[in-house]
Amino acid sequence: MEYISQIAFLLVLAVASYFLAQRIGSIKKNINLGKDVDRSDNKGQRWKNTMLIAFGQKKMFKKFIPAILHLMIYVGFLVINLEVLEFIIDGIAGTHRIFAPVLGDAYSVAINIFEFLAVAVLVSCVAFLWRRNVVPVKRLKTLSGWPKLDGNLILVIEVILMFAILTMNATDQLLQGKDDHYVQTGSFFFSSFLMPLFEGMSVDALVFTERFAWWFHIIGILAFAVYVTYSKHLHIFMAFPNTYFARITPQGQMNNMDEVTTEVKSMLGMDAGNPPAEVARLGAKDANDLTWVNLMNSYACTECGRCTAECPANLTGKKLSPRKIMMDTRDRITEIGENIKAGKEAEEGSALFSEDYISAEELNACTSCNACVEACPININPLDIILQGRRYMAMEESSSPQSWNAMFQNVETSFAPWKFPPTDRFKWADKLKEEEK
């Protein structure tokens, strides 16, 4: 009987780890469905970006209020997780607050810091709920359905988890001295405010409440970890690799299509080197035609809508929304992953660039202004996806807008996007001479 809670704990841990590993495995697989692109260069610059933009939250601070609220949740998460380490050791070893005797006074200092952060997280989550629902911030208000629910659920779950910690600490303090199992820790400032709620309880009821809160918190955290993998909240992990692997070339530079270079060179009679194996598709028709970095981006997106709020096309009522580009990419690559798992044809269902996900109307509306890229706090690049879609339209489908086809024709025959005779190109100099007369 003595070991029953330890066995139960190990079981819970094993089940959670199993599901988590499954989820991580399938997301990894989905990301690897993307085309290869080399991001092993410039390690120094990449680390710097990760440190500044992910760890340092640099781009978040373009908007001060959400940045501060987020910083509290972020630091709270990182620090409070140290306490989860103690939870896990206690759970396995059947001990209680194993670090308390080891750390002595430092333990109570640490727990007081954790409690302060728990309260800060609580306050921030409530403020975020407020911003989402009461005085809605426009970029958050435009979400509906699952993404909206997801955004609220995360915040509510965090509020509940923080309450569980505080309840646990409050009842624990009341039990110290009444039950030998509960080691002396010194007092905890914030949870002391909750103590009057439980003061009248019997020792048994207190133990029950304390244990319930303990189990609730740890199971909550483990369940949340699995939930996160289905949610935009995956950014809490993905933000780090995402900033590391993000593009570091100038924003205006479009990547070169080497398969096209080979062909153009041989058309021009230049030495083209070895022709590439087989060129699958030019540009992208579906999510698995994109690069793994594009797909990783889609799993890292927080759906915050800062990109869409800056998009000139979206601001003027066009259908294009860079946030939707990211969300559609994630939904479609997940669908492709599931097709494969179910033994179906990978590309069954609607392709990413089709009316059901990203339509031609959306692709064509982009001015390639890079405002979305600049705005994204975790260096996601929606523009890169848009441009690959356009390449497919232009080169495989010839379905570009008519005026663009005319422009292509002009460039080809008149060497300018407008239909002027190339011999007129230098006429401006005559005008200069005329002016002088």
Binding site: E361, F415, E436
Partner: protein
Amino acid sequence: MSDSTYKVPTMQEMSAKGEAPEVLFWVGCAGSFDDRYKAVTIAFTKILNKVGINFAVLGPEESCTGDPARRAGNEFLFQMQAMSNIQVLDGYNIKKIVTACPHCFNTIKNEYPELGGNYDVVHHSQFLQGLINEGKVTLKDGGEFKGRKITFHDSCYLGRANGVYEAPRDVIKALDAELVEMKRCKTKGLCCGAGGAQMFKDAEKGNKEINIERTEEALDTGAEVIAAGCPFCMTMMTDGVKNKEREHNVKVFDLAELIAKNEGL
């Protein structure tokens, strides 16, 4: 021709004489064909002459960089253009290029290297900034723009795309003008609506044209002059000002035009 004050030597003429220019002025399609932007080409040419820069143009040998084709998805056409331009540039052994078009600037600077074309490329705002810093362009005090309100519209391909924010502003400050910023400027600058090959087609369905939104922002600053550094921005902002019926008291000028006017060129 020899008595003309302003000379526009072509590379062909120069190399026939066995000479090499210090810098090639890449005029671009808009600078060559667009009536409004030809004036900018001329203004910049006058400045180059006045300062005595040893420059040349490609003249009829110039060709579209391929930028609009690439942004619209036609990578083949882009690369064909790029390769043949690189052949011409390398044929003349060009090392340094200045252009008044941010799209040409971005393409030649960032995208030609992968196809074998490596040049030192500057935008004319950076070139003008250099001339001002070196004291080659000294603006007489009490110039035409002294104390007047000027706002600068960041072109996406100069600003966000390449991080050039200060050069154009330094040029405006050198005029002794009052530089006023729009609500969205620098990294947050709002596109004029023409980038990404939008210049060459109608906008998709929406509730407003992007250039109107941007022009309203520019007008909100109370500036008399909207300064630009890009042919497409120039068109979009000029159309915007016309649409708002403000062309009588708000002018859209390129940076080179501002300097040339101030110099009485």
